[in-house]
């Protein structure tokens, strides 16, 4: 199991990209531009998510000096 935060963010990108592929394929199947518009929204959301996520990763790395996702467990619910 992977616990590296960089790999977690990369996997989120892969999943969002897969969703976009599904949207564009569906839009292309029905000949409508709506699927591509949804992909544009997913693109904007992925850009926002990755910028905030990488800033958080940098802060966590300076705090704990490693990228283990389990190291950031002092926020107990």
């Amino acid at each position: 199991m992977r616990r590296n935060l960089i790999f977690i963010l990369m996997s989120i990108e892969i999943m969002l990209n897969g969703t976009g592929v599904a949207f564009v394929a569906a839009g292309s199947r029905w000949g409508q531009p709506d699927g591509q518009i949804m992909f544009l929204f997913i693109l904007a959301m992925a850009a926002a998510e990755v910028s905030v996520g990488l800033a958080l990763v940098l802060r966590l790395y300076h705090l704990h000096n490693n990228l283990d996702a389990d190291a950031a467990n002092e926020m107990r619910g």
Binding site: N4, I37, N66
Partner: protein, 197 residues
């Protein structure tokens, strides 16, 4: 065009599998960029040229550059790869892989049973997309702009340097620190730069 789509799809799947199985972050990023470029080719073959260009420009150009910058900044080396190798072994992934294999077999069966439609019904040119984007989806564009603004402010806030060391360094030069260390020092002007008023 159909052959191009299938070849690009196979390249995308293979490079994505290689992405999530690499131990070194830079190698994984290289495979991820290849995967995104292959998906862009698949988009073009599906008749979506605007989205194909945006995939190359935004995903492979901007987001991946962010990842490369951060990986280079953190300077992950052999130690991180060894740690990942220790985490990845074990039989935790067997269950999800089996369940996903069942789902993939189901999808392949359904695709092979159904009548195969043509890949590209027609090319949806950027003009159509733009007209729909700034017509019925205008509120979505506004929401996306607000989301990007929020991400900008959040990244600036999280990325600013706040360590005890830098805070102490700034505090030493401030008037408050000088008043804390004794009033005579303020009157004598110790610690001020010469060109300060």
């Amino acid at each position: 065009m159909e052959a191009a789509f299938y070849i690009a799809g196979i390249v995308a799947i293979v490079s994505t599998v290689l992405t999530i199985s690499r131990l070194n972050a830079v190698h994984a990023l290289l495979y991820l960029i290849v995967s995104l470029l292959a998906v862009a080719v698949a988009f073009y073959a599906m008749g979506a040229p605007l989205v194909a260009a945006l995939e190359v420009i935004v995903y492979a150009g901007a987001i991946m550059v962010l990842f490369v910058f951060v990986v280079m900044m953190l300077n992950l080396g052999k130690r991180a790869a060894i740690a990942e190798g220790q985490w990845m072994q074990g039989s935790i992934w067997v269950g999800p892989v089996l369940l996903s294999a069942v789902l993939i077999a189901e999808v392949v069966y359904l695709i092979l049973r159904a009548r195969l439609p043509e890949i590209a019904v027609g090319v949806i040119d950027p003009k159509q997309v733009g007209l729909a984007l700034y017509g019925p989806y205008l509120i979505g564009v506004e929401l996306a702009s607000m989301l990007l603004l929020g991400a900008l402010v959040g990244a600036c806030h999280l990325g600013r340097p706040v360590h005890e060391k830098t805070e102490a360094r700034y505090d030493r030069n401030s008037d408050g620190a000088r008043a804390h260390s004794g009033g005579n020092l303020i009157r004598a002007g110790i610690g001020r730069t010469p060109d300060a008023p």
